[in-house]
């Protein structure tokens, strides 16, 4: 009896071996190689040192690319939050049939390829695209606006592409809030706005933090959308790394900026995580 009970509660580490092996082979090993590569002083091999890091951190162009990438993530995250929160809110307040519809619309982008979605944005934002055509037809503009290949275009396209990552955690957080809280607040004399600001928003913070984390991480590494909507003039970290590695064959430098990028992202992620821990104190009633 005791033996069978133990069989249920204990587990055999050997069962995890295939996954662990795959993880070590395809994730840890490349990362270690990348790290080692980043310390090479010369693309042709040879000595090891901090040359590549010194080059990156001493180069205002490189730092500019890193800065604009991290800043792009902030802009996308803020826009996604501003657009996504009302969608999650609407979902929470809708009857069952409308909830299904909203959920479908939210999930739809995930069901199509990123490339397809991004090309759709090229069509929408282009000189002869839907936006320009509509504005011209209404008579608001005479010459087409430049929308494609602008940072604004990149932010909007990324916000749409990453929307589900923001909306889903917020829906989860909102659905866990007792509807009596809003009723209690309004009976105590609070209007809708105060109820939202003092009760709903604080209690949905864990969802907001999780959504922002996912959106931010996805936005700054979105190679395809950044490159296709941003075009040649705008350079963000993923494309920068790609150019260094593939076009210029400068593998050590590419490895070094990858590591710098990785560390920067980890810093941002840990800040979000710290916020998440703080906000979680609120949620579980």
């Amino acid at each position: 009896m005791a033996a069978t009970l133990r069989d249920v509660t204990t587990y055999d580490l050997k069962l995890a071996a295939p996954l662990a092996a795959g993880f070590i082979l395809f994730f840890v090993t490349p990362l270690v190689i990348l790290l080692a590569l980043s310390f090479q002083t010369d693309p042709q091999g040879g000595h090891y040192g901090l040359t590549q890091y010194v080059a990156f951190l001493g180069d205002s162009f490189s730092l500019g690319v890193l800065g604009s990438t991290l800043w792009l993530g902030v802009k996308v995250t803020v826009l996604t939050l501003l657009l996504g929160y009302p969608v999650a809110w609407l979902h929470q307040r809708s009857p069952a049939w409308a909830r299904g519809l909203i959920m479908l619309l939210v999930l739809l982008p995930l069901l199509t390829s990123v490339v397809v979605r991004t090309f759709a944005w090229v069509v929408i934002l282009g000189r002869q695209g839907i936006v320009n055509a509509t504005l011209a037809w209404i008579g608001l503009i005479d010459t087409p606006l430049k929308l494609l290949y602008t940072e604004g275009g990149v932010v909007v396209a990324l916000a749409q592409v990453q929307m589900p990552l923001m909306v889903l955690p917020i829906i989860t957080a909102l659905s866990r809030i007792d509807p009596n809280f809003a009723d209690a607040s309004s009976v105590l004399g609070a209007g809708h706005w105060r109820t939202f600001r003092k009760v709903i928003l604080p209690l949905s913070l864990p969802g907001i933090v999780a959504g922002c984390l996912l959106t931010y991480a996805a936005a700054i590494t979105a190679f395809i959308t950044q490159s296709l909507i941003g075009g040649g003039q705008m350079l963000f970290m993923p494309m920068y790394i790609y150019q260094q590695a593939s076009t210029l064959q400068n593998w050590p430098f590419a490895a070094a900026i990858s590591i710098v990028f990785l560390v920067s992202v980890l810093v941002v992620v840990s800040i979000f995580n710290a916020l998440g821990r703080l906000s979680r104190g609120y949620a579980n009633a």
Partner: protein, 372 residues
């Protein structure tokens, strides 16, 4: 004891509440059907009924969460129809208390004052005074999660009363408490209600709670008001068969009305015997089929063989229940009748199979309704 909040009207407590022909329709079904309740200022009224009877719907209508299909809600003689909840001056204690988990106890209590733009210092002192009233003055900086169920309920009560509402609504407030604590809290809530003199509506499915706490009880069934009377009247003189069976327990016996006047009636029971009853409800003529309701304590058991003019039966089972003894008697027409007697009068249990005669302990206790 409780002074008016700075922004409130001069003396908002003890307001009258009139529910005038309230009807609530959900699609084809009527959740509340033409309910009229005239509630006096400072009164504690219980809305009592089984789940689905419409009592919670009525509460939500009074609070303003729900706009009634028909009828009017008047507080202090003024209509509040169309006013949103935040402008109705009602306080609610929810079944799960709904204390804001991200605020301290004091912030919870001060929430309504803050919403009314009361300055911070007054908020603090008022919140402290309300917490003192519910005997939790020392726990202001805890969070709700750190409190026991009974303490959370006190906080919820303090939060509801802090804004000095005209009407206090209690939505099954004791359901989540264990039995001993429930009685303590019922006494406590009643004390605070008396002290503040606030008109209070208690929604409950627990008849004991309704009977013990309320000045008057409104019994609801399927959206209709069955009876609105003081507790003793609800118990002793039920208006309908539903009230008689829902409140307390009742033995139902079929029979034929022999004669009746304004004060009494006589019924020949199918199980045998003639019984003197209260005046029948409704327009019943002699010869009508009726249902007689006899509460277990209305009968006494006499271990003797009766005749054709008495209600006779055989003991099925006897249960000693502390202060009382309950016998189950199978009477002439096969109905099982429960009889409850004080043990001080009957120390010995009757053995199953004993033939007995049942007699009312006093005349005109039984209620009579038209047979269903």
């Amino acid at each position: 004891m409780v002074s008016a909040s700075p922004n409130g009207p001069a003396s908002p407590r003890g307001q009258t509440l009139l529910l005038d022909g309230i009807t609530q329709r959900y699609g084809a079904s009527l959740a509340v059907n033409e309910v009229t309740l005239d509630i006096r200022g400072g009164e504690l009224v219980a809305l009592l009924g089984p789940s689905g009877c419409g009592k919670t719907t009525l509460l939500r209508i009074i609070a303003g969460f729900l706009a009634q299909t028909k009828g009017h809600v008047m507080v202090g003689g003024k209509s509040v129809d169309g006013l949103p909840p935040n402008r109705r001056s009602v306080g609610i204690v929810f079944q799960n208390y709904a204390l804001f988990p991200h605020m301290t106890v004091e912030e919870n209590v001060a929430y309504g004052l803050d919403a009314r733009g009361v300055d911070r210092a007054t908020q603090r002192s008022e919140a402290q005074r309300m917490l003192d009233l519910v005997k939790l003055g020392h726990l202001g900086d805890r969070t709700p999660r750190q409190l026991s169920g009974g303490q959370q309920q006190r906080v919820a009560l303090a939060r509801a009363l802090a804004v000095n509402p005209s009407i206090l609504l209690l939505d099954e407030p004791f359901a989540a408490l264990d039995k001993n604590l429930r009685l303590d809290m019922q006494i406590e809530v009643k004390r605070i209600q008396r002290l503040s003199g606030i008109t209070t509506i208690l929604v409950t499915h627990d008849q004991e709670e309704a009977l013990s706490m309320a000045d008057r009880v409104a019994v609801l069934s399927q959206g209709r008001l069955e009876q609105f009377s003081p507790p003793t009247e609800i118990y002793d003189a039920p208006d309908s068969l539903f009230v008689n069976t829902f409140v307390g327990s009742a033995n139902l016996l079929g029979g034929v009305l022999v004669d009746s006047d304004r004060s009494a009636g006589r019924v020949r029971l199918d199980a045998g015997g003639l019984i003197e009853t209260r005046a029948p409800k409704g327009d019943l003529r002699p010869g009508s089929r009726v249902t007689v309701c006899l509460r277990p304590e209305h009968l006494s058991v006499d271990p003797a063989t009766g005749d054709a003019e008495t209600l006779n039966g055989v003991v099925e089972m006897g249960l000693p229940l502390g202060a009382t003894v309950v016998h189950e008697i199978r009477v002439g027409d096969g109905t099982a009748v429960k009889v409850s007697e004080p043990r001080i009068q009957r120390t010995d249990l009757l053995a199953p199979g004993t033939p007995v005669r049942l007699a009312p302990v006093a005349p005109r206790l039984a209620s009579v309704f038209a047979a269903a």
